[in-house]
């Protein structure tokens, strides 16, 4: 089974890297990281803060955009071009096909965000700071910010967040058209990023006396259905606090479980689908 999933994943990766939009997004990401230097220069005093913020945002947005623009058309394209018949006529189960597609896309995103992350880290360590004229050799090129564990963890958790978004994109892609999938995935991403504010909103409604039981109930359901993506955002820890929260393993477990559940739903939908 693993061999079949891996074969689908590898082919998906090969297919995805041929997509020109990928390179366009990568160039935009690199441009954003390079632009952060300029923003840092005019920020007066806290240029490293600006550079890290911009870099992390660029990596995150790049991953999300790839998963939305490439992921949403992934399965639809196979159906539209009828290449799905040649795959499913072989001993490949529909679930394996979905998981393979998902892993292939994740591999693509991992390569892209990994490249951008490495570029960002090198840039941050080497160029971001102000050169000390007295330093020589390698030291001259290492006058930027320090690469800390929270910063690396923030980059890892950006990828974890993208895994969840990609699972959602694949789920929608298995059931509808690319445009609708992209719209729905974007909505889920936005809702996921803002889901921690739902309890605050419920409390605010209760404070104002406007909270009906039905309203609160639906809001709570919405809170549990949408992925809580804000818990995967470690930007504040990396940029301002400099220490990691203690429940990282739980957050990781949550992301993995959510992605698996969403992919199972995608498999169920895809199994019922007739071409």
């Amino acid at each position: 089974m693993i061999g079949r999933v891996w074969a689908v994943a590898l082919n998906t990766f090969r297919e995805a890297v041929r997509d020109r939009i990928l390179y366009l997004l990568l160039v935009v990401g690199i441009g954003a990281v390079a632009f952060s230097k300029f923003l840092g220069e005019i920020s007066v005093g806290d240029h490293l803060h600006v550079i890290v913020n911009t870099g992390l945002t660029a990596v995150s947005l790049l991953g999300v955009m790839i998963s939305v623009f490439v992921g949403t058309g992934l399965i639809y394209k196979e159906i539209d071009k009828r290449t799905v018949y040649t795959i499913l006529s072989k001993p490949v189960r529909r679930g394996e096909f979905i998981f393979g597609k998902y892993l292939g896309l994740l591999l693509t995103i991992a390569v892209c965000t990994g490249l951008l992350s490495i570029g960002f880290l090198v840039y941050y360590r080497a160029v971001a700071g102000v050169a000390d004229d007295r330093a020589t050799g390698l030291l001259y090129w290492m006058h930027g910010g320090r690469i800390t564990v929270p910063l690396l963890a923030a980059l890892v958790f950006i990828f974890v967040e993208i895994c969840v978004v990609t699972a959602v994109a694949v789920m929608f892609s298995s059931a509808s058209t690319p445009i609708l999938s992209a719209v729905l995935t974007s909505i889920i991403f936005t809702a996921g990023r803002m889901s921690t504010w739902i309890p605050e909103y419920i409390r605010e409604l209760a404070r104002r006396g406007e909270s009906g039981e039905v309203k609160s109930f639906f809001l709570q359901i919405l809170y549990y259905i949408t992925p809580n993506l804000s818990i995967m955002d470690l930007r504040d820890e990396a940029v301002n606090i400099g220490a990691l929260p203690g429940d990282l393993a739980w957050r990781l477990l949550y992301a993995v479980s959510y992605s698996v559940v969403v992919l199972l739903v995608a498999t169920l939908v895809f199994r019922r689908r007739r071409f």
């Binding site: 923003l39 911009t54 945002t57 504010w197 993506l229 804000s230 940029v239």
Partner: protein
């Protein structure tokens, strides 16, 4: 089949047609761009708000809470952009010499709403708010917000202390500096020294000594220790003056008259429930020196010697004073007084004949608004020379030299005074060394 095969290879006519079409598109786009170019100028011509030179009126900024929702979790970058917008706003105002900073506080509030754990907008923003629109209240409210959100950052209370210090509100500054020293890490090494200085200025000599000694016990750096030692000498001299004067009152109760010298005072033995003066002093100083009884004994053993290599003496009214601290204070006062003596000579072409003439000259400067804040504080509201450290008759005994300046009375120079040996609390490294030596001896 031939038609399909020849399709990719286009004829020259088709190519030129495509090229023409491409050129046409390019020209249309260029014409559109050219048409839009004058739009900003036309807008400026017809929008009275823009031409009035008031960019504030068109600056629209949503609430931080609203922006937080709009940024979909990418509020860090939004905060950076708002902060940069604030930097540009200040730059524009300064370059236009415009003193209306109406939007400055709003920009910092939005920045801090978006990224509440970023400390720079709080402390730098507060300093700018207090310096440019001179709005201390808003600056302090921004710092309070910062302190609520970042209880771990020393920079925010430190900025609050700086703000209060710059306005002469030492008591409030001291409150914030104590908070920094007690609960935070990584704060500048000068904080302890500033606290000790402020406590000394507030005449809380016991706490000042305790602070200075505590800082000396924590620090190994040579430069920092040199600064702290000078504060420590002053605080301990002041504390000894207070303690010895109190002891002299005690002496007067037993002997019917105050002691004539510190030596006499220290010879008062224990009587009834009261301890001997020397023992009482050691006990009080052990507390002031953070429990270091050995150091306290060494300090008391030096008496009547003071921390500046000079001596304590008893005035006829029974109060005890340090000649060293009097000399240090006089040196500091003369530095400012001689500056004005020089100004007097420059203005009148001759030195001031007496104290009254100099004071009158400074009054003229004050009325003309030519005195800085520090100098105004030095001369006081009535513009008089500060009291002489050696007593009321001190100024009448001072001599003006040939250069038209007050000369220091004969005695050791200041370099020697601050370099004289005196028992000082050891730093961590020295304590470790002593402990190792002790264990070796055992």
């Amino acid at each position: 089949m031939p038609a399909t095969a020849s399709a990719p290879a286009q004829s020259p006519a088709a190519l030129s047609c495509r090229r023409r079409r491409g050129l046409g598109t390019f020209f249309i786009l260029a014409a559109m761009a050219a048409a839009f170019l004058p739009v900003p100028f036309v807008c400026n011509m017809h929008d009275p708000r823009r031409v009035a030179g008031k960019p504030d009126d068109i600056l629209y900024l949503p609430r931080g809470e609203t922006l937080k929702y709009m940024t979909v979790g990418y509020n860090g970058v939004a905060a950076d952009i708002t902060w940069i917008r604030g930097v540009l706003y200040v730059g524009r105002k300064l370059s236009h010499r415009d003193t209306n900073y109406e939007w400055l506080e709003k920009l910092y509030q939005v920045t801090t709403d978006l990224d509440p754990h970023w400390t720079r907008p709080y402390h730098t923003g507060a300093i700018l708010l207090s310096a440019l629109p001179q709005d201390d209240q808003r600056a302090l409210s921004l710092l309070s917000k910062g302190l609520r959100n970042n209880g771990w950052s020393y920079e925010i209370p430190y900025a609050a202390a700086q703000l209060h210090l710059s306005r002469g509100r030492n008591r409030e500054a001291l409150k914030y500096l104590r908070l920094v020293r007690a609960t935070m890490e990584g704060y500048p090494v000068v904080v302890g020294n500033i606290i000790a200085q402020l406590e000394k200025e507030g005449q809380d000599y016991e706490r000042a000594t305790r602070t200075a000694a505590g800082e000396l016990q924590r620090k190994d750096d040579r430069v920092v220790r040199a600064i702290l030692t000078s504060t420590y000498r002053e605080t301990i001299a002041r504390l000894l003056e207070v303690e010895l004067t109190a002891a002299n009152r005690h002496y007067a109760r037993f002997r019917g008259r105050p002691a004539g010298s510190v030596h006499d005072l220290l010879s008062l033995p224990a009587r009834g429930k009261s301890r001997a003066v020397r023992d009482g002093l050691i006990q009080n100083f052990t507390w002031a020196l953070n429990g270091d009884r050995q150091l306290a004994s060494e300090v008391i053993a030096r008496l009547p010697g003071d921390p500046f290599g000079m001596e304590f003496y008893v005035r006829p009214d029974g109060t005890v004073h340090s000649r060293g601290i009097e000399r240090v204070e006089l040196f500091r006062i003369l530095k400012t007084v001689n500056h004005f003596m020089k100004q007097f000579r420059k203005a009148r072409g001759r030195p001031a004949r007496n104290q009254q003439e100099l004071e009158e000259f400074v009054r003229v400067l004050t009325r003309a608004g030519k005195l800085r804040e520090g100098a105004r504080k030095f001369w006081g509201p009535e513009v008089r020379l500060p009291p002489h450290p050696c007593g009321p008759k001190g100024w009448s005994l001072m001599r003006v030299g040939r250069d038209g300046l007050f000369a220091m009375p004969p005695g050791p120079d200041m370099e020697k005074i601050f370099r004289s040996s005196y028992p000082v609390p050891p730093g961590p490294r020295e304590r470790k060394r002593r402990a190792r030596a002790l264990s070796r001896d055992k």
